[in-house]
Structures are given as C-alpha cells and as structure tokens.
C-alpha cells in the first residue's frame, strides 16, 4: 500500500490537507441531506417536513412579495443620505453583534467530533481556519441571500442593493472569526498578568446595553418614537458619522443608484473580503487550547440547551448566597420533589436572576411604552379625557405584562420535565403518584414566574401610589394562567418529547413538528380559558341586567372565573400526571 504522507516529499504535505477537508465538507453535506431524507420517509416525518417547508416558503414569499413590497409601496423612498445612514447602522449593528459573539467563541470553534481528529491530523492551522471560514460562510449564504433580497426591495437599485448586502453578510463571519482568534490570543497574553478576563460577561453586558439602547431609540424617553423624528440630526452628528465610517463602502454599494457609484465601493468590499480571509488564515496564533475550551464549552451549552430554556443553560453554582433551598412545599415527598426543582432554579441563580431581572425590566418597559402609545392613539380617536387615557394605558400595560411576561418567562425558564428528561428512569421509580410528581416539578417555576410578574405589575403601581383593581386581579390570576400554560406545555412535551437545538439536522421537519405542537398547546390553552371565563362572563352580564353596581358585578364575575380556572388547572395537572404515567422511558432518555 502506498503512503504518501510517509514516503512522499515532506514539504508537500501541507498543500494536500485542504483536499481532505473539502471531502469532509462534501460528505457532511451529503450526510445531512441523507438524514433529512431518511427522517422524512416516515409518514409523520413527511407531514412535519411538508409543514416546515410550507412555513419557510411562506416566510420567504412574504419577504419577496408581501411585507417588504408593501412597505416599499406605502413609504416614500428615503433620500440617499438617509438610506446610506440606515445601511451603515444596519451593517455596524450586525458587525458589532458578531464581534460580541466572538467574545464567547474564543479561538477556532470546531465541533466535538472534529476537534481531536483534525488537531491530531497533518493539517496546518491555516488550512483549518480556511475550512472553518468556508463552512461558516456557506451557512451564512442563505442569510446573505435573504438579507440581500430584503435590502434589494428598499435600495435605489435592487441588484446593487442585493450584491452590496450579500457581500457585507459574507464578510461578517470572517471578521467574527478573526476577532475570536485575536481576542483569544490577547486573553492568553493578558492572562499571564491577570486571571482570565470575563469576556462572556463583557459580551452579555454589551448585549444588554445594546438592547436598552434599541428600546430607548425606539420608544424614547417621552414614549414617542424617537428615531423617525430626530433622524436627520442623528444622521448628521459628527460623532455618529465617525462611528459608522468603517461601514461606509458596503453601505455605499448597497444604496448606489448607478454603476459609477456602485462599482468602486463593491470592488473595495470584494477586495476586503478576499484580504480579510487571507489575513485571518495567516494569523500566527496557536489557538488549540482556546479551541478545545470553546468546543467543550459549546458542547456543554448545547447539552444544557437540549434540557431546557435560556435560563436553564446557566452553569449551576455550588452555594449561591451561602444558603440552602427552603422547603416551600412541605417536607413530604411532594415537597422534596418541588425543593429539588427549586434548588435547580436557585443554584443557577447567578445567571438566571440577572437574566430574569433584565428580561422582566425590558418587558415592563416595552409593555408600558407600547400601552401608552396605543392608549394615546385610542384616546385621540375616541376623544376621551387624559384621566381615562391614563387608566387605559395602565390597564393595557398590566395586560401586556401579564400575557407577554407569562409567555416569555415560562418559555425561557423551563425548569421542568425538559431538564429532567435524562432522569426519567429515576422519576418513574419514585413512590409518588404521577399527578403529584407532575405538579411538584412545575410548581417552583410557576411560583417564580408569579413573583416576577407580580413585582413587575405592583412595583410601578406602588411607586405611582395608585394600586387599582386591575393590579390585584392580574396578580390573583397570574399563577393560574402560568400554571395552566406550564401544565399544558409539559403535558404535551411528555406526550411528544422532542427537542431541537440550533444547528441540528432536519430543521424543516422540526419546524413543522414544533408548529403542530405549538398549535396543540394554544388549542388547549384557549379551551381552558373559554371554559374558565364563560361562567364569569355569564354572571357579569346577568348581574348587569339585574342592576348590580359594576364594581360588584366585576368582583363576583372575576371570583367565579378564578374558581373555575383553578378547577381547570387541577384538570390539567391530572392530565399532566397521566402523560407522565404514560411516558415511555425507552423512547427518549434525553
């Protein structure tokens, strides 16, 4: 057998490494398609795949024809300076996000199955970087095309808009990769002087700051939209122009109306892309240790992501605040199971609480601003006075927070059966009834969501010194709404325990299945609410007909609705218990 690596000219070894990496990329692509086809061959897989494809197709169609086209027709075309400014802001924002992401992916990220194999293979680091850049750019291609299409519909010249935007999107991963390698190298050098830099903290803080800035820009301090009214002054600010200057060539290519304006900028963008790729591959940085850390870190994060929501992905801290979880639900078997879940929440408290407080704050801010805007426009149309407008705004804000907050926090936390799927063997062996295990597992999350939403509702009211009936009713109903949603969510999950993590194969199939399961959840939730609210509504109208005072009618109706909803929750918990009992551990062990 011939062995070139051993017997051939040694200097030539490095030149051939790319061939094997090209083969790997080709085989992986082929393998991903094959897996997709294998899964889609089953009847359920075929149905979910078709639904996913339909969903994606509808979205892309709306991008091409619907929303974007409609906007273009309605809105007058922006002047070139404004268009240039908006394009610069968009590109700068995307690059900034990519650089922030680079703080979390230090070195060269390679998946777990590749890293040991490729690092121990006769491949140069430049070849590995080139391979990684090619795969990342290939993945970005779809996003680049979509972004290009969206930009083309808003640009002065569609073709130039598309090309400029697409090249900008293909440059971003190169910059992100270069930054990841350089940040990692800088950290390595600095770590000799100081211990590891909290790069992830910088990234999180940066992300939060950007979110707050975006909300401030959208809603403004007065609640009125800020950007459209003050756009020219912002655009002409010397500081802003200086900050956005690096994005100028790409933005110029995107908004150009003629070839003379487009060609030089586009040529520069292409040359920059080529040079950036070359320079990134040629970086003289030994990123192996950083990459091993990053790869292990990503694998851990993906594993946690498969177990639950955003908050559940945090690392557990050994002794948060130096205390042990309290026995909030008694010291029996039920209390012990609930305490176990509570411990999971508290021991991930560092990340979770920060995340929840920030998310809750942003939600409260957004719902408040949105409800003020809506109340203001509604009041203007109906001609009501300012007092009524304020009450409308308060009620709207509370309702927004109740619905959006519950939905968001429940889907983010997920300290429930998703995080216990790998332990279902143990849970099923516990000498406790299915409904008790079900309720005990979801109770702490429901309690935490209730506390957070209640704080979000009551804190502004207490600060303003006016707690109204809205507030009390919302705080009373929230735990039942939360419990109903979490119970339905978990019962459906136990019946169909499928999870999807970004980057996994069979995206269309998962998208279709997720849509069906979400519809099922919404159907259950809608049914429960109708059953719960119908008696209350009937009672309210009956009491109004009987000339009871509105306050009395409202109170009685809400009390009945609360009681019926509580009964509905008990029914949902029972259904959840049945789903737990029917769970087949052999089917999915997580």
């Amino acid at each position: 057998m011939a062995r070139d690596a051993h017997d051939g000219p040694r200097a030539a070894i490095g030149l051939h490494g790319d061939e094997s990496l090209r083969l790997l990329a080709k085989l992986k692509f082929k393998g991903a398609l094959r897996l997709q086809v294998r899964r889609a061959k089953r009847p359920a897989g075929m149905l979910f795949f078709a639904l996913g494809l339909l969903l994606m197709g509808a979205w892309i169609y709306s991008l091409f024809k619907g929303a974007a086209g409609g906007l273009r027709e309605q809105a007058p075309p922006p002047d070139e300076r404004t268009a240039l400014f908006v394009a610069q802001v968009a590109i700068s924002g995307i690059v900034l996000l990519s650089l922030l992401g680079a703080l979390q992916f230090r070195g060269l990220f390679l998946p777990r199955e590749e890293i040991e194999r490729l690092f121990s293979a006769p491949l140069s680091r430049a070849q590995l970087v080139r391979y990684r850049l090619t795969t990342t750019q290939s993945r970005s291609l779809f996003g680049a095309v979509l972004f290009g299409v969206v930009c083309a519909q808003r640009a002065g010249n569609g073709v130039y808009g598309f090309l400029g935007a697409a090249v900008a999107m293909l440059t971003v991963p190169v910059l992100g990769q270069a930054a990841a390698i350089l940040f990692g190298d800088a950290e390595n050098r600095l770590a000799r002087l100081a211990k590891r830099l909290p790069l992830r903290l910088f990234s999180i803080v940066g992300g939060i700051a950007l979110s707050i800035l975006a909300i401030w820009l959208i809603f403004g301090p007065s609640g009125a939209p800020f950007v459209p009214s003050d756009l020219p002054s912002l655009r002409d600010s010397a500081l802003v122009q200086a900050l956005l200057a690096p994005a100028w060539p790409w933005a110029r290519a995107m908004v150009a109306r003629d070839f003379a304006g487009f060609a030089p900028s586009f040529a520069f963008a292409l040359c920059f892309l080529w040079a950036a790729r070359r320079a990134t591959c040629a970086l003289k940085v030994d990123f192996r240790e950083l990459s091993l850390e990053t790869s292990a870190d990503v694998a851990r994060r993906l594993n946690r992501m498969r177990k639950g929501g955003v908050a559940n992905q945090a690392e557990a801290a050994r002794a948060p605040f130096g205390w042990t979880p309290p026995w909030l639900f008694g010291r029996g078997p039920f209390g012990a199971i609930a305490r176990n879940e509570l411990a999971a929440i508290l021991r991930k408290a560092r990340g979770t609480l920060l995340l929840l407080v920030v998310a809750g704050g942003l939600l409260a801010l957004a719902s408040n601003a949105l409800s003020r805007k809506l109340a203001s426009s509604a009041a203007a149309q109906a001609g009501v006075d300012s007092l009524q407008e304020a009450r409308l705004a308060t009620g709207g804000g509370v309702l927004f927070l109740l619905v959006l907050g519950t939905a968001y926090l429940c889907s983010s936390l997920r300290f429930d059966f998703r995080s216990r799927l790998h332990q279902m063997d143990q849970l099923k062996a516990w000498p406790v009834g299915g409904a008790s295990i079900f309720l005990a597992t979801i109770a702490p999350e429901t309690l935490l969501v209730w506390l957070l939403i209640s704080a979000g509702i009551l804190a502004p009211a207490v600060y303003a010194g006016s707690i109204e009936g809205w507030h009390v009713a919302a705080v009373a109903f929230q735990p039942l709404l939360g419990l109903a949603w979490v119970a339905i969510d978990n019962a459906v999950f136990l019946r169909a325990p499928v999870r999807y993590t970004p980057g996994e194969d069979s995206a269309f199939l998962h998208m279709g299945r997720a849509m069906v399961l979400m519809l099922l959840r919404l159907l259950f939730m809608g049914g429960s609410l109708v059953v719960a609210l119908l008696p209350g509504a009937i009672l309210f109208y009956s009491m109004q007909v009987a000339d009871f005072a509105p306050a009395v009618a409202w109170t009685a109706a809400l009390c009945v609705a609360w009681f019926v909803l509580a009964c509905a929750c008990a029914g949902l918990v029972w259904l959840g218990g049945r789903a737990f009992d029917a769970f087949d551990v052999a089917r999915d062990r997580g």
Partner: protein, 268 residues
C-alpha cells in the same frame, strides 16, 4: 530507558531554532524530552522524558489526574507543547507539526464519530486526511477485523459506544501509523471486541509501530505492554520493564501490587 537521555537523532540546525531529523528511519518512534504542561496555575506534567522504540508497546499508567491524557494529547498535537520537546519518528511536534502528525494516530477515550457520515465515509475521510492511496481493500479488511462490515452504511450517530470505539480503531489503523496513541482503548468494547483489539494492537506492534497505551485496566497493560511508564501527580515515578518493576517491589508481584507500591512510595 533512563530519564533525561539526550535526543540521539536530533541536531540543532546551524543559526536557527529549527530542529530536523538526521535519519528518520533510525530515530525512535517517540522521544519525549523534559516535557511539561501547565493549565493556568495547575502544573499537570513536569519534566517528563521517555523514549518509545518502533515495535514497542508502552503502558502508561497512573492515578486520576496524573497527567496521562495531557501527555498523550500533547504528543498527538491536540495541545501545544509549551515546555520541552516531543519528537515523533524524529520530527519535532512543535516545529514540524504536520510531518509528525502524519506519522501518528490518536484514539481518545471517547471517540466521537461524525453523526451524519456512514462508517464507510469515515474510512474514506481518514484515507483522504492521511493521503492513503488504494485504501479500499485495506478499509474492507479493517471493517472485517473490527466486525463493522454489517455497519458499513450505518451513520456515526447510530453507533453504540463499542462500535464507535471499533470505528476509531479502524480509522486509526488505515494509514499504518508509526506511532499509535490510545487512551483507554478498550472501554465500551464487548469481549469479542476486546480480543480483536488486543490482537490488532499486537499485530501493529509486530509490524513496527510503536504503541503508547494509557489505561486503568492494569491486566490489559500487563498482558500487552513491553514497558511500563508510571506517572503520579505529573511526574514520572517509574519507567522500565515489568521485570524491573518486580525487582524493585517484590518478585512475582502483579502489576496492581507494583502500581500501588510505587504510587504509595511517591505519596509517602
């Protein structure tokens, strides 16, 4: 082999830091010279030197955290070599990384196949990676040896732990490496797989490959290894044959007795 023995086959090129092999065919398959590895403040390995000749099987043993995996990963080029020198077949891993790597194969303790590639495509990729021509007959034969023929079209993600291990062996064997590095190679294998793997390791050694075998299964080391290297808390505490070890501890003692006696000595 005494520790700290100078690199016989290595000379320093005049006026440069570049090291090159004088005669690769006569060089030991592996030379580790004053190697050290530090993670932030933790010193995992320090001043480790040893040599493995072609055809030799070296058993690398030590308690958890002794630095075995760090050493193996550094030899394989997965971790950079910050202290000391490592030469594979005369090629310095730090300076002539690709030449050194083309001569070795690394099997980690939990090999991860590509989820979406079939068993056969793994062989195809390995052949391309190490530029093995006319690889198909050999790949077929390896699949038979490791009882993977029936799994030829199975995806990596569908394989059991033992099958993954067998696939890693088959891929590693394909380019007939001069140096084989294995970390807990038999974990997850069934009795038939264990026997096949042992025979295969012995055959590779007889064919001239050097093998470094790290394992907590002392009976495996006792059965296969020609020499023994015991590490404890990052340092070499014994390097020699089993007979030399017995002579040091007690005549007729098992490797388990030797292991406990030597590692206890260093703790005492």
């Amino acid at each position: 082999m005494a520790s700290g023995e100078p690199a016989r086959q290595v000379r320093r090129a005049a006026g440069s830091r570049k090291l090159c092999a004088v005669n690769a065919s006569q060089a030991p398959a592996l030379e580790v010279l004053a190697f050290g590895k530090t993670y932030e403040t933790h010193r995992a390995v320090h001043d480790l030197s040893f040599v493995v000749e072609p055809g030799e099987i070296l058993g690398l043993v030590g308690p958890n955290g002794a630095g075995k995996t760090s050493t193996l990963r550094s030899i394989a080029g997965v971790l950079p070599v910050a202290e000391g020198r490592i030469l594979v077949d005369g090629w310095d891993v730090a300076l002539h990384e690709q030449q050194a790597k083309s001569r070795l194969a690394w099997i980690p303790d939990d090999p991860q196949p590509f989820d979406t590639l079939t068993v056969w495509e793994h062989m195809q990729f390995s052949a391309a990676l190490y530029r093995v021509r006319e690889w198909r007959p050999r790949a077929e034969s390896l699949l038979v040896d490791f009882e993977l023929s029936e799994k030829r079209d199975a995806l990596g993600g569908e394989l059991s732990r033992g099958m993954r291990q067998k696939l890693a062996f088959a891929c590693a064997w394909l380019h007939e490496p001069r140096l084989l590095l294995m970390d807990e190679p038999l974990s997850g294998l069934d009795p038939r797989g264990i026997r096949a793997a042992k025979q295969s390791i012995q055959r590779r050694a007889q064919a001239g490959s050097a093998v470094v075998l790290s394992s907590h299964q002392l009976d495996l080391i006792e059965e296969l290894a020609h020499r023994l290297l015991i590490l404890d808390r990052g340092a070499k505490v014994f390097d020699g044959t089993l007979e030399e070890a017995r002579a040091r501890v007690a005549p007729g003692s098992s490797l388990e007795d030797i292991f406990f006696a030597i590692t206890k000595d260093t703790k005492g």
